[in-house]
Structure formats: structure tokens, C-alpha cells
Amino acid sequence: MSDLQNANPTIYEVTKKPTRVHRPEDDDEGVADLFDADEVFELIRHINDPEHPLTLEQLNVTQLDKISVDPEASHVTVRFTPTIPHCSMATLIGLCIRVRLLRSLPDRFKVDIMVTEGTHQSEHAVNKQLNDKERVAAALENSHLLEVVNQCLKTTIDK
């Protein structure tokens, strides 16, 4: 138990099921629904923390207001907040978010994933790793790492 980085984290009440209000045009086949922050949040909120049987949302690592989406420019920015500033899991968490979005968003989107400013001591290094295509690809070549990532993403299925 002592090997956990943060054994007793704060747990946050999760927001309810999507609060999106149903609009009449949602049923209209002809009207396209644009990508928005809600939709992206929905994709990543159920990712499991590598250390705890808790989701990133329960630990407040991902928050709706830290996501911005520009559907015109096909651009998404996600900021996430590690539970403690020296958390060595930050890169792994970022990688999980990266892989989830790679698999879930259309190819046309450019996705930036970053640590919320001032919440991690090696913010820059983490950001650099997460947004370097080649490094991400190399990380995913590592079958052990990929297995860990898949484990964290398992909880996103059927939510």
C-alpha cells in the first residue's frame, strides 16, 4: 500500500449523466451535430486512474471546463490536473487520454494534451512528451505500456 504515490486522494462527486438538453434538431437527420467540449469530456471522464479503482473524473483529473474544442478548425485542447504536483503517473495519465482520443476522434482533429498550468513540477517535460507524435508512437510500441493503457481504458467501454 505504501508504494502508491497518493494512497488517500480526495474523491469528488461526479456530475450526472450527460446533461445535454435534447433539442428538436437532434432527431433531424439533416442537421449535423458539432463536436463540443461536452462530447470530448464524455470520452475521457471514465478513464481509470492507474493507481486507484477510481475514474479520472472522480479524482478531478479531468474537468469539463479544461477542455476546448474548435470544430471549424478541427482542434481539441485537453488540460488535465494531476492529484499531486510530483505525481510520476502524470505522463501515463496523459498517454491514456491521448490514446483514448486517438481512437475516438476522427483523424482530422489535431489534439493537444497538456497538464493544467502550475499543477505539476515537471509540466514542460510532460507536455513535450505527450505532444510529440514520435514519442507517443514509440511508447505505444512498448507492449507492457500498451497493456497498462488498455487496462485504464477498459472502464470507458459501455458507459
Binding site: Y12, D33, E39, L153
Partner: protein, 1094 residues
């Protein structure tokens, strides 16, 4: 065949060959017929039994055992009258009148020394025991001899299995004999069991250990007995994939656990090893150890646990703090509770400073209390759960924990009023109220069952808690979860015994009422409503008095003036429907709804939206009745049946009088009368079932009809109801209804096509009553055929279609419930076929008319198929022909849905007393299937979809097993359904695919490639002309997501990249709902990683 010949045949034949079995049967036959005795057989077997070849000897013993097994007990136990002159048995048959069984047993026991024959010998002994042919005196020789002569574990599994069954039987049927052997039996058994590995044997072996503990003296070998069982802990058995014995690890664990906690004498040996296993690194071993501890603790008591208290607590605490596995957490919490129960049962001895319970609880409180200082951290919640488990164990535990924890929590609650923090703190407090309720009982517990001296510690905090939870519930901030906790806390307090005074409960109910009505958040409303509903189960009077009036007041007396009111009133109605199912609340609620509905029906049209209000009211009445029906099922429909007088009659009279006066307004609405018709139906069904003596009303209304009818048998109530409405609806005699004297002579003909729509609407009320009568209830008409014919004539010509549908139901119900098959045939041949069939097939007839006629046809088929009348099949042929008709094909296809589905309104269901034969759906399916398949192949391309439509209706409504049997044959058709342009058809087909993938993946396996391609094609083409709407695309994606779970990796792997790529464009679908599903499906395919990654 003589005994000698048969024996020779047996000796020649190889073991277990058909010839050997035939010979065996012959021998058994000879003995059963009395032509020879078993002892004759033994005599004849002499040479074989003394043969030099051990396998021959074994064969001889085997024959003897098999014969014993196959003969009835009396043949074996009967006294023998034959003296044996020269045989192997000479030595045993000392006295002429020795029991055969005893002779055989002695013989078998002597054969134990012959190693190759042991298997057969034990079987023989087992057979003798099973037929209880052995005397007690003989029985105790069995274990003695077996234990001294056999090293059981050197034999193969089947032999050992016989051994365990013998011991099991001895313990079950010959206990006194076994007891007389004393502890020798125990030690002998321990040696014999030691080293056993087969799960089938172990299951028995564990049972034997438990039985020995229960009834034998084992003190001398207590530790050995414990060891011989416990050495199997933890069970790691995993049944092989092709296991045919069905033994699971759980079975073994349960059996072993029963041994371990069989006696407290095991405690000194068990505790150290259990503690050791608790800290094992294997997850299942840990869980198993915790579960075993839970079972043992109450048996062992506090003393053996006490030295380990700290260890146990530390371990369970770690386990829960770490968390992560729900099952594991549950086991740990259960263990905490069980251990607390054990500690609670033992007071302190004079030498101890503190009682065992105190020792344990001090440990628990020391480790947890400080966590409540920071309630938003993870450990606060888990600490609460642990203490709750301990508190729910006993009165002293609950008292000690609650009085230490609740003040701390309340102080914390006071210190910081951030809503999130308050919510977390209240949540933990709530757990302790729940725990106290477990210990001190709920309000519905008879107080005599519990000790009144024990008073819940919650009482001391009652006032404060009431204030805190009430203010949480009424807090009008943005944070809904706090209000949810408030509602839950108040509910728990309401339900706790001894806690609240009447007026306090009343105040809480008012708060809950207000929340249900006014809270902006759906979750909070639902929680408050749930509280009221559950409380109403226990204290209906209180809810009747404090809650329902508040909701009634919300119902407008007129219709809706403004739209804003709609959702509020609808919510109130839904609330009433949920509350009013219990006995006490049912009638008052129905009465209130009726009053409101009556008003809306009676008033003249205004700018209020009466129609929607009337729909909601009638729908609510129906819901209340149906909820009630679901609950009354077991106890007969008394309360529902009693609605005839106060509900159905007034509603009927009101509707009829308004319709006769041609009053516009609510009367012209179909949905309202659909609902009312169904309300009538539910009541009429119940009338016969539970209402024999409460026939007050109809006496009143039937007096008008004829005085002597009142004396007709009470159990023919339905008949009288039907006669009454027949007079009104068919003959137009309004004056037979109470209070409608003045209307005599007014035109009222709801079943005639020429009547105004608002009268025709009332035909649903007539149908609601008629179609729900029992089969024995006759129509009050001389000529049923003519009546039905008239109904069809009217229905076929009705442009509004009202009389088409109600008429079809009436005709179907009457035909289905006809007295004889002959009556039905007569109707079909003399009325339906000559009068209507030509028109159905005539291209000259107007299409509209033909479609209406088809509706009647379909309902008639349904009526006949249900009772397996042959004409039904002949008529369905006609409908199958019409599938190939451009104008009627679609109607005919959907008709199959009506024929085989169980309809929502209950028409022609068993509950509505329809005559149904077993398996009628299956028979109909088998009849239609080949015709539909052939028709499909023969049909023009644009008509094929109608066949697929009919097929999909059949598939949706037949039992799963039959569907799965037929699937291989239908697969090509199903695949072509996926390329049709009919969206509904595709969604239905995709449903079938889901089922096949889940239940019979092997069938889908060979078509995996085509399925995947077709599904991907649907997700790609969004052109409305292809019929791939949002619904269809989502269904296709769902099915595609089911594929990886159902079909083998090796088959799917070649498709993986293609699927991922294609889904790459599906996650860019213009509709968000589709994208959601696409993302999920794609994630499942990404996770398709092969067996290594499990």
C-alpha cells in the same frame, strides 16, 4: 435362458460388451422370476470366482455386484431356504436361515484381500448398503475391514469414490453402528482420506468430515481431522472446459468451509492458519480466508479470536482501504461484522480489564476516527463503511460506535458548511442510521420480537439529525447530491423503529411532498418519491393523511389552461400512480382520479386542454389498476373487481349519456377511450376471479332489466355485465343504465358505421368488456354468426377505422372463445369465405376496403391459431399469398406481428381468458417458415421485403430456443434483410443478430465476414433512400460491438484493421448519438487483442 447358459455367455464375453450386458440382463431376469436365487448364482459362479487369472476373478465379483445392484432389495434380504452343498460359500452359510445379504457381505468383505477385485467388491457392498439390506451388526464390520485391509489412496478414482459413498451411507443410515466403533473409525477415515485429490471424491469427503464432527466422538483425533480437511485450503480448483460433472470451485469451497466451521474445537488449529492465509498474496485465497473467517467467527466465539484481534483488524482494514474489488470489499466488510458479532457474545472475565468487544472496537475506532476530520478524502468513506459493518453487528457494538462517531461527524458538519463537505459527512452518518435500523429493527417489525430494553443510540441524536437532514433536503443551492442525501437520511429515520413521534413523521412527509413537487432536480425528486413509496408500504395511513391530499390539490379541476402546467400535473399523476398500489391507498386514489376524469368528460369544450388532461387521467387510472393487478395476482383481484360499481358504471353512464347527446369535447378523442376501454378490461377480468359476493351495483342496475335475473347464479357476474352492455351498445336501449331513463329513444349506435365518430369511439368500451369475458359467457344474441357478420360489414366500410380495429378484436375474441371447433368451422365456411374472401382477392374492390378486410382476416387467424384450429392455417395461407401484393404486402407482413405477439392491451391473452393451446406459436412458426422462405425466393425483388418483414415479426415473438434452432436455415434471409431499404426491418433483424451472437455464436461464426461487411456498409451509407437512419446506424454499430465478445479471435483478427479503419469514419458521423456508439464499438475492437491478453 437358463442360469447356466447365461453364465457361460457372460464368462465368454469381454467386460462391458453388449453381449456381456445381455447375459447380465438374462441372469437378472432368471433371478427376478424366482427360478433361481442369488445363492444359486454364487454357487454357479464358483469356478470364475476361484479362477487363477485375477481379471477373471474380478469379472466374477463384478457380475455378482451388478446382479445385486439390479435386483430388488427383497430378493437379496430374503431368507434362503437352500442349503449349499459344495461352493465357495460353504463356510459362510453355517445356519440354513442366514440372511442372503449377510452372506454376500461376508463374501465381499473377504474378497477385499484380492486386489484386482476390490473395485467390484466395493460396488457390491455399496449396493447392499443402498438397498438397506444389511443389519446394524454387520454394518460395523464394513469400515473395520476396509480400514484394515485397504490402502484406499492406492486405488483409482472410481474405487475411491465407492469407498467415500460407502462411508457417507454408513454415517447416514447406520450411525449407531458406526458410533460403536468409537474413535477408531475417525482415525481410519483420516488415513483413508489423506491424499485424496479428485474433486468429485473431495466433495463427499468434506461432507463426511462435517457429518463426523456432528455425530461422532473425535476428540482424540481433533487436530488430525482438522488437518486432513484444511490442508486443501485455499481451493484452487478450476473445472476443465469440457467438464461434465458440473462441480465448481464454489461447491468445494462451501463444503470445505462447512468442515472448518463445524465445531469450535477446531478454533485453536484454525485461527493461526486462517490468519496466515489472510495475508496471502493470492487474491482468491484472501477472499476465501475472509469468507471462512465470517462463517467461523460466530461458531468459534470470542475467545479464540481475541489473541488475533489486532491482526484481523489490521488486515481487514488494509484490504478495505486498498479497495478496488467490490467482491473483495464485501467479503472484508462481512468479516468485520461477523467478528464483531463473535466478540459481542462474550463478556469480560474477572481477570480481564476490558471486554473482548471493547478491545476490538477500540482498535477499529483508533484507526478510523481521525479520517473523519477530512471527510472529502477517500478514507473517510471507507472508514465509515467499516464502522457501519461493525455497528450493524450487535446492540453494544452499535451503541459504542454510534456514540463515539456521530458527535465527531456532527462537529465536522458544523465546522464547515461547504455543500460537498456536508454531503459527505451526512452520507457517513446515514450509514450509521442504516446500521442501527439493522440492529434495532424497522417500523414494521413487531415489537415483541425485539427486546424493548435496547434503545437505539440514534435516539440521543435524533433532534440534531432531523435538523441536519431536513436542512440538507431543503437547501436550495446548486448542489443536488446534498439534497439526495437529505431525502435518504429522512427516509431512514422514518423507517427506524422507536425513533420518531407521529408528528415528526408528519413533518418529514410534508418535506418529501414538497420535494417531489418542487425540486428542480430529477434525481432529488426521484429519491424523495422513492422514500414516500417505500414508507407507504409500511405506514399507508400516514401517507394517506399527509401526502396524497397534497398531490390531489395539485390536480386542476378543469383542463390545462397553460402549457407550463402540463409537465407538473403529469408528474403529480405519475406520483399518485406509484403511491397508490397498496391496499389502503388504492381505492381513494382511483376515486379521486375518477372524479377529475368525470368532470372533464362532462364539461363542454373550452379553451382548456381537456383532451390531454383526460388522456393523462385515464392513463393514470389504467396504470394504477395495472400496478394493483400485478400485486393482487396471488390474492385474487378483490379490490380491482370492486371497482365495477364505483368506477366502471359511472364512467360508462357518463360517457354514454354524453355521446347520446352528441356532446363534443373529450368524447371525440381516441386515446382517452382506448385507455378507458382497457380500464374496463382490467376490471372485467378481475370480476370473475375475485368477486363473487360483492355484487352490489349490478343488482341495482339490473333491476331495470329484469327482476328475476338478479337471482341468477352469483358466479355468472360477467354474463350479467355483458348482457347489460349488449343492451346498451347493440340494441341502443340507454334506459337500462341507472339514471339514464330520460334518454330512452335517443339514437345511440356506436357499432354502426353511420354513427358520428364520437359515438363510434365508445365501441372501445364495449370491446373492452366483451373481449375480457370468460369463454363460458354467451353473447345475448340468437344468431352469433349474423352478429359477427354485421360487425365485419360495419368495420370493413368504416373510413375512420375505429370499427375496423375494435370490430376485429370483437370477432376474434368471440371466435376464439367459441364452444366448439364446429361452430368456428361453420362460421368460416358459411359466412367468412363466401361473403368476404372473394372481395379480399378481387382487384376490382377498393384497396381501402381490402385493407380493412385484411385486418379482420389477421385477427381471425390469431383467434384460431391460438386454439390450434385448422382453419387458421388455411386462412394464413391467404395472407401469405397477399405478401406478394404491391398494395397489401406491407399490411400482410405486419399482420404476422399481430398474430404472434402478446398484445399490450391484453386482447386474446390468457389473462383475458383466451383459449390457448400449448406451443401454438411454435406450431404456427413451423407452418409458416417454409412457405415464407419459398415465397421469398420466388418473389419479385421489390416484394421480397414483405416476406422478410413477416419473418422478422415471427422471429421476434417465438421462444428463443426455437429461433436458435432455425437460425442456420434462415441466416441467408437475415443477411439479405440487412441490405433492404426498410429501416424497421433492419432494426428488427439486428435485434435477432444480437441474440444469435449472444446465444448461438457458433452459427454466426461461419458468416462472420459477411456480417461484418454488411454492418460496416450500413454505418457508411447515410443516404435516406437506403433507410439507414440514426436508429439503424446505432443498432448496426451495437451489433458490431457485440461481435468481439462472441466470435473467436482467430476468425476476427483478419478483419480487425478493416473494421477499425471503417469505424474511423463512423466516429465522424454527423449525428452525435451515432458517434457515441461508434466510439464504443471501436474501443471494443481495439481491445480485441487475442487470448494472451485475456
Amino acid at each position: 435362458m437358463s442360469l447356466v447358459l447365461a453364465l457361460e455367455a457372460f464368462a465368454r464375453a469381454p467386460v462391458d460388451s453388449p453381449e456381456a450386458n445381455a447375459a447380465l440382463d438374462a441372469i437378472v431376469g432368471v433371478i427376478k422370476s424366482g427360478n433361481a436365487t442369488i445363492l444359486n448364482l454364487v454357487e454357479q459362479l464358483g469356478p470364475l470366482l476361484t479362477h487363477n487369472d485375477p481379471f477373471e476373478r474380478a469379472k466374477g465379483v463384478g457380475l455378482l455386484s451388478a446382479v445385486v445392484r439390479k435386483c430388488e432389495g427383497d430378493k437379496v434380504s430374503r431368507d434362503t431356504g437352500i442349503a449349499c452343498k459344495r461352493s465357495l460359500l460353504d463356510g459362510y452359510i453355517l445356519k440354513r436361515r442366514t440372511n442372503v445379504a449377510s452372506v454376500l457381505l461376508n463374501f465381499f468383505l473377504d474378497r477385499l484381500a484380492d486386489q484386482p477385485s476390490v473395485g467390484e467388491t466395493l460396488k457390491g457392498i455399496l449396493s447392499l448398503l443402498e438397498m438397506k439390506a444389511i443389519s446394524a451388526a454387520d454394518a460395523n464390520m464394513i469400515p473395520q475391514r476396509i480400514f484394515t485391509e485397504l490402502a484406499i489412496q492406492t486405488f483409482q478414482q472410481t474405487v475411491r469414490h465407492s469407498f467415500f459413498r460407502i462411508i457417507d451411507l454408513l454415517l447416514e443410515s447406520y450411525l449407531p453402528a458406526v458410533k460403536s466403533l468409537g474413535s477408531d473409525f475417525v482415525s481410519g477415515y483420516i488415513q483413508a482420506m489423506d491424499g485424496e485429490k479428485d474433486p468429485r471424491n473431495l466433495l463427499l469427503a468434506f461432507r463426511i468430515v462435517k457429518a463426523m464432527v456432528d455425530s461422532l466422538d473425535y476428540d482424540k483425533y481433533c487436530e488430525e481431522l482438522f488437518e486432513v480437511a484444511f490442508c486443501y485450503f485455499p481451493i484452487t480448483f478450476r473445472p476443465p472446459p469440457d467438464d461434465i460433472y458440473g462441480i465448481t470451485a464454489e461447491d468445494l469451497k462451501g463444503a470445505l468451509r462447512a468442515c472448518v466451521c463445524a465445531t469450535e474445537k477446531f478454533a485453536p488449529y484454525a485461527m493461526p492458519v486462517l490468519i496466515e492465509k489472510l495475508s496471502s498474496s493470492s487474491g482468491t485465497a484472501k477472499t476465501d480466508a475472509m469468507d471462512t473467517l465470517s462463517s467461523c467467527a460466530p461458531i468459534y466465539g470470542a475467545r479464540p479470536l481475541l489473541p488475533h484481534a489486532e491482526h484481523i483488524w489490521d488486515f481487514l482494514k488494509e484490504e478495505i482501504f486498498k479497495g478496488g474489488n467490490d467482491a473483495n470489499d464485501r467479503s472484508a466488510l462481512a468479516a468485520i461484522k461477523a467478528v464483531t458479532v463473535a466478540f459481542s457474545s462474550t463478556p469480560a472475565t474477572s481477570s480481564e480489564a476490558r471486554a473482548p468487544l471493547e478491545v476490538f472496537l477500540n482498535l477499529a475506532l483508533k484507526d478510523t476516527l481521525h479520517n473523519f476530520k477530512e471527510p472529502e478524502l477517500k478514507f473517510a468513506k471507507t472508514s465509515g463503511k467499516m464502522l457501519m459493518a461493525a455497528a450493524s453487528a450487535s446492540d453494544p457494538a452499535c451503541y459504542a460506535i454510534s456514540t463515539s462517531v456521530i458527535p465527531v461527524l456532527l462537529a465536522e458538519h458544523k465546522a464547515d458548511d461547504a455543500p460537498t463537505r456536508r454531503k459527505t459527512v451526512l452520507e457517513v452518518i446515514l450509514d450509521f442510521i442504516v446500521a442501527a435500523r439493522e440492529v434495532y429493527g424497522s417500523i414494521d417489525v413487531q415489537s415483541s420480537g425485539l427486546d424493548e430494553d435496547f434503545v437505539s443510540p440514534i435516539v440521543n441524536f435524533k433532534d440534531n439529525l432531523l435538523v441536519q437532514f431536513s436542512s440538507a433536503l431543503t437547501s436550495r443551492n446548486e448542489y443536488a447530491p446534498l439534497r439526495v442525501v437529505g431525502a435518504r437520511g429522512l427516509f431512514e429515520m422514518l423507517m427506524s423503529r422507536q425513533l420518531l413521534a407521529e408528528n415528526e413523521a408528519g413533518i418529514i412527509i410534508q418535506l418529501l411532498n414538497q420535494t417531489v413537487l418542487d425540486d428542480p432536480d430529477e434525481d432529488v425528486k426521484a429519491e424523495a418519491l422513492r422514500a414516500l413509496v417505500n414508507f407507504a408500504e409500511k405506514r399507508p395511513e400516514s401517507v394517506l393523511q399527509n401526502s396524497l391530499p397534497v398531490f390531489y390539490d395539485e390536480l386542476p379541476s378543469e383542463g390545462w389552461a397553460i402549457d407550463a402546467e402540463v409537465s407538473r400535473v403529469e408528474a403529480v399523476l405519475a406520483t399518485i400512480a406509484q403511491l397508490a398500489t397498496g391496499e389502503v391507498l388504492f381505492q381513494p386514489a382511483i376515486q379521486r382520479l375518477l372524479e377529475k376524469l368525470d368532470t372533464t368528460i362532462s364539461k363542454s369544450p373550452s379553451d382548456h386542454d381537456d383532451v390531454r388532461y383526460a388522456r393523462a387521467l385515464s392513463g393514470t387510472m389504467l396504470a394504477v389498476l395495472r400496478n394493483r393487478h400485478a400485486r393482487e395476482k396471488s390474492g385474487g383481484g378483490r379490490l380491482i373487481a370492486e371497482c365495477w360499481e364505483p368506477v366502471v358504471m359511472p364512467l360508462l353512464c357518463r360517457s354514454v349519456s354524453r355521446a347520446a347527446a352528441l356532446a363534443e369535447g373529450v368524447l371525440s378523442d381516441e386515446a382517452v377511450f382506448d385507455n378507458i376501454g382497457m380500464v374496463f378490461g382490467v376490471v372485467v377480468r378481475a370480476v370473475d376471479a375475485g368477486w363473487v359476493f360483492g355484487f352490489g351495483v349490478s343488482k341495482l342496475c339490473l333491476r331495470a332489466l329484469s327482476a328475476n335475473m338478479v337471482d341468477v347464479l352469483m358466479d355468472r357476474v360477467q354474463k350479467r355485465l355483458l348482457d347489460l352492455v349488449f343492451e346498451v351498445f347493440v340494441n341502443g336501449r340507454l334506459e337500462v343504465l341507472p339514471g339514464l331513463h330520460d334518454l330512452a329513444g335517443k339514437a345511440f349506435a356506436p357499432l354502426m358505421v353511420t354513427s358520428p365518430v364520437l359515438q363510434k369511439n365508445l365501441s372501445r368500451l364495449f370491446a373492452g368488456i366483451l373481449t375480457n369475458c370468460r369463454a363460458g359467457v354467451d353473447l345475448p344474441t340468437q344468431d352469433t354468426g349474423a352478429f359477427l357478420r354485421e360487425i365485419i360489414m360495419q368495420g370493413v366500410t368504416d373510413p375512420s377505422q375505429i370499427l375496423t380495429v375494435t370490430g376485429a378484436k370483437i370477432v376474434a375474441s368471440v371466435l376464439n372463445k367459441a364452444k366448439s371447433d364446429g361452430d368456428i368451422s361453420a362460421f368460416i365456411e358459411s359466412i367468412l369465405l363466401p361473403n368476404f374472401k372473394p372481395e379480399l382477392f378481387s382487384e376490382e374492390a377498393p384497396l381501402e376496403r381490402r385493407r380493412h378486410l385484411l385486418v379482420f382476416y389477421i385477427w381471425i387467424i390469431k383467434a384460431l391459431i391460438l386454439r390450434a384450429h385448422n382453419a387458421g392455417y388455411a386462412l394464413s395461407l391467404d395472407v401469405i399469398h397477399l405478401l406478394a401484393h404491391t398494395g397489401l404486402g406491407r399490411d400482410a407482413g405486419h399482420g404476422f406481428g399481430i398474430i404472434v405477439a402478446d398484445l399490450e392491451d391484453g386482447t386474446l391473452t390468457k389473462e383475458a381468458f383466451a383459449v390457448t393451446r400449448l406451443l401454438y406459436k411454435q406450431r404456427f412458426f413451423n407452418y409458416c417458415l417454409p412457405l415464407l422462405v419459398d415465397g421469398f425466393h420466388a418473389a419479385a425483388p421489390e416484394l421480397k421485403q414483405y416476406y422478410l418483414l413477416a419473418l422478422s415479426h415471427l422471429l421476434r415473438n417465438i421462444p428463443q430456443q426455437i429461433l436458435l434452432n432455425e437460425i442456420p436455415r434462415l441466416f441467408p434471409l437475415l443477411l439479405s434483410s440487412l441490405s433492404s431499404t426498410d429501416g424497421d426491418l433492419k432494426v428488427a433483424t439486428l435485434d435477432t443478430f444480437d441474440l444469435v451472437l449472444k446465444e448461438a455464436p457458433a452459427v454466426a461464426m461461419e458468416h462472420a465476414g459477411s456480417i461484418i461487411d454488411l454492418l460496416l456498409a450500413i454505418t457508411r451509407s447515410r443516404d435516406p433512400a437506403h433507410g439507414n437512419g440514426v436508429r439503424v446506424r446505432i443498432a448496426a454499430l451495437k451489433t458490431l460491438g457485440q461481435v468481439p465478445a462472441s466470435i473467436e479471435f482467430s476468425i476476427l483478427f483478419p478483419h480487425k484493421q478493416k473494421v477499425l479503419k471503417a469505424l474511423g469514419s463512423a466516429v465522424d458521423d454527423p449525428k452525435r448519438a451515432v458517434r457515441r456508439e461508434a466510439v464504443n464499438t471501436r474501443a471494443k475492437w481495439y481491445m480485441l487483442l487475442g487470448p494472451k491478453h485475456g
